[in-house]
């Protein structure tokens, strides 16, 4: 190095600058893409009116990745409701990236949004960015996921996962005749909801001594992983009468494995989320039940409360609000559409 000081130093400088450049490039690329993908719609002509009094202005909707139909339903429902009430909307996703969420909130602040509807990226990591928005005078309405602090957000509207899990487990136990061996597929273990649902299932099932959990395995919310793991589990033990999964994608992965093994008629499968695919599987007799999280309902409720706050200055009475889940079985499968009652 010392023999070629100039070259070495320049090399080092380039080495130091290159990642920064690339980073900046990517950041602008991301910022740009999220801005362009953020579908802005103009509804009201006088968006410059001061906060309060009347509807109009921008509502920023920020959700996790749209490749999950649940989050997409959530974003679609809140967008539709806000536009119906006469607001402009911008829809963007943070992909469970805390940093990206913070940037999106900054963007909402600089665009002087009237309210932010947020399905946040982390119970602790989101507190700071939300505080930032509230300090800038923008009320934040949380949906689907809570944060670990109260008094900042105007509302935290969360579907009651524990209640939903108990509903699903109760139906599962009854359909199995209160006895038998079952497999539990758990969601991504770092996700709060995976733990809450698993806990809800076990609170109910553990009351029945003849119900025996032979395997508990995580499949990371993923269909293909659930398929592979279910096939492997069946290699160890074919004496299984039920599968209860933390979400519908995993349940459907298990269904595919059970079909391949010729056991689909003998094994009851219960999922969670109420996705359209799961409802179709229930109608086809391949799944026993799923639990609907009303994604659309919670999102619409949040927009309506935001609208009320903007127009009248009246905050929701309760910050923490929970929405009950609904059980879907063959008996009522026809009554449900995409994450909502028809």
């Amino acid at each position: 190095m010392s023999r070629f000081p100039v070259r070495g130093r320049r090399g080092r400088r380039i080495a130091a600058v290159a990642p920064l450049l690339v980073g900046a490039l990517f950041m602008t690329a991301c910022g740009g893409s999220s801005d362009t993908s953020a579908t802005s719609t103009k509804k009201s002509s006088d968006s410059s009116s001061p906060a309060g009094e009347e509807a109009g202005g921008l509502i920023a909707i920020i959700t996790p990745s749209p490749d999950n139909p649940f989050f997409k339903a959530e974003a679609d429902a809140s967008k539709a409701k806000a536009e119906e009430l006469g607001y402009e909307t911008s829809v963007a996703s943070h992909d469970d990236d805390v940093n990206k969420q913070s940037e999106l909130i900054d963007a909402a602040i600089s665009r002087k949004a009237k309210a932010i509807i947020l399905d946040n990226a982390g119970a602790d990591a989101s507190i700071g960015p939300i505080q930032k928005a509230v300090d800038a005078g923008i009320p934040v309405f949380l949906i689907d996921r809570e944060i670990n602090q109260t008094g900042i957000a105007s509302a935290q509207i969360v579907s009651n996962n524990a209640q939903g899990a108990q509903l699903g487990a109760q139906s599962f136990v009854e359909a199995m005749g209160e006895k038998g061996n079952y497999v539990e597929l758990v969601g991504k273990e770092s996700d709060t909801n995976a733990g809450v649902r698993s806990g809800g299932y076990n609170d109910v099932i553990s009351q029945y001594p003849n119900m025996k959990r032979v395997v508990q395995e995580t499949a990371n919310w993923d269909q293909q992983e659930a398929f592979t793991k279910m096939e492997t589990i069946l290699q160890r033990n074919r004496d299984i009468q039920g599968v209860i999964a933390g979400n519908d994608t995993m349940a459907l992965g298990a269904v595919a494995a059970l079909k391949a093994a010729g056991l689909i008629k003998k094994v009851l499968v219960v999922g969670f989320d109420g996705s359209p695919d799961a409802i179709a599987a229930i109608k086809a007799g391949e799944m026993h039940a799923t639990v609907l999280q009303p994604a659309g309902g919670g999102a619409e409720e949040a927009v309506m409360q935001a609208d009320k706050l903007i127009r009248t200055g009246e905050k929701p009475a309760e910050e923490k609000q929970s929405i009950d889940c609904e059980l879907i079985t063959k008996d009522n499968a026809d009554e449900f559409g995409v994450f909502a009652r028809l």
């Binding site: 293909q224 398929f227 096939e231 492997t232 589990i233």
Partner: protein
Amino acid sequence: MTVDTNVARTETADAEVQEAAARARRLFVLNLVFEARAFIALAVLIAVFGFLSDSFLTVTNLITMTKHVAINAVLALGMLLVILKGGIDLSVGSILGLSGVVAGELLGGVRLDIFGVVAYPPVWVVVIICLGVGTAAGLVNGILVTRFKVAPFIATLGTLYIARGIALLMSNGQTYPRLGGDPSLDNTGFGWIGTGRPLGLPTSIWFMMVLALAVTLLLTKTPFGRWLYATGGNERAAELSGVPVLRVKTLVYMISGACAAASGLIIASELTSAAPQAGETFELNAIAAVVIGGAALSGGRGTVRGTLVGAFVIGFLADGLVIVGVSTFWQILIKGAVIILAVVLDQGQQRFQRRGAAAAAVAASRRPD
């Protein structure tokens, strides 16, 4: 006098030669052990899991596990070609997802607005189109790398995002359910790709075997194979000696893309549904299989046999840990440890090989003939 000194010199030389030959033999044996390390690892895995669980070493379980291995092995064989060239293909997982989505879209019917009809292509057409999409994505990678001189890591990182984005846009984020087809539309049979069992073995295993054979022949019996090793070993030298380097480089990405698309079809068929997010991080599993199989990321070194064993090590390890009931967190950690161990051993083998070659050269050069 002169004769005497000559004899003495020959004697010391003989001793040196013998020593060198012995060293070369020792290093050769060690080298063999290293060469076979992936096989040894696989044997150890099978023995340990066989001992820990009665259901591991059964025919049906071995077939099931091999079926799981096949998905990664098909990706890894394509990846091997790219890595032999000294490149890397990060886009395979996304191409896999895109392939499934394209299949889902086609099986659901193609609207031909000009004619006002919905066409339902038969399964074989769907398969060919999906493989074509994968090949085309590989061609884009190849052109970026050869014509636009983008580093393979960056080019394929870009296509990783682009392919995933296209898959999400096409599917609107939704999963395509029920790809079984409809007898009245004459597009059934998609499920057979993943669940058929000709001669008792799943189709994916047959496909893996045929592909492995084809790639072996390609590498050992064709000029393309020699060009590929030459390009990966020393690109400049290969170019100067008349190897069509650009064509070789482009082709390997196309083959890798086609392999990814084939894997995507297998997965979509097994699940009879196609999710746009299928195959996330699968590229890393494929790279791991190639590396465990003894290929050099710098190019020019690696075999089909090694890559297959690498894929088996990863797959059997994952399934074995599930059967034994080890926590997922440990499964992830153990996989990482195995990959690092494989590369460390690989470095060791390189050292032995060089020393062995040097000792053999000494023995050969001094040999009186």
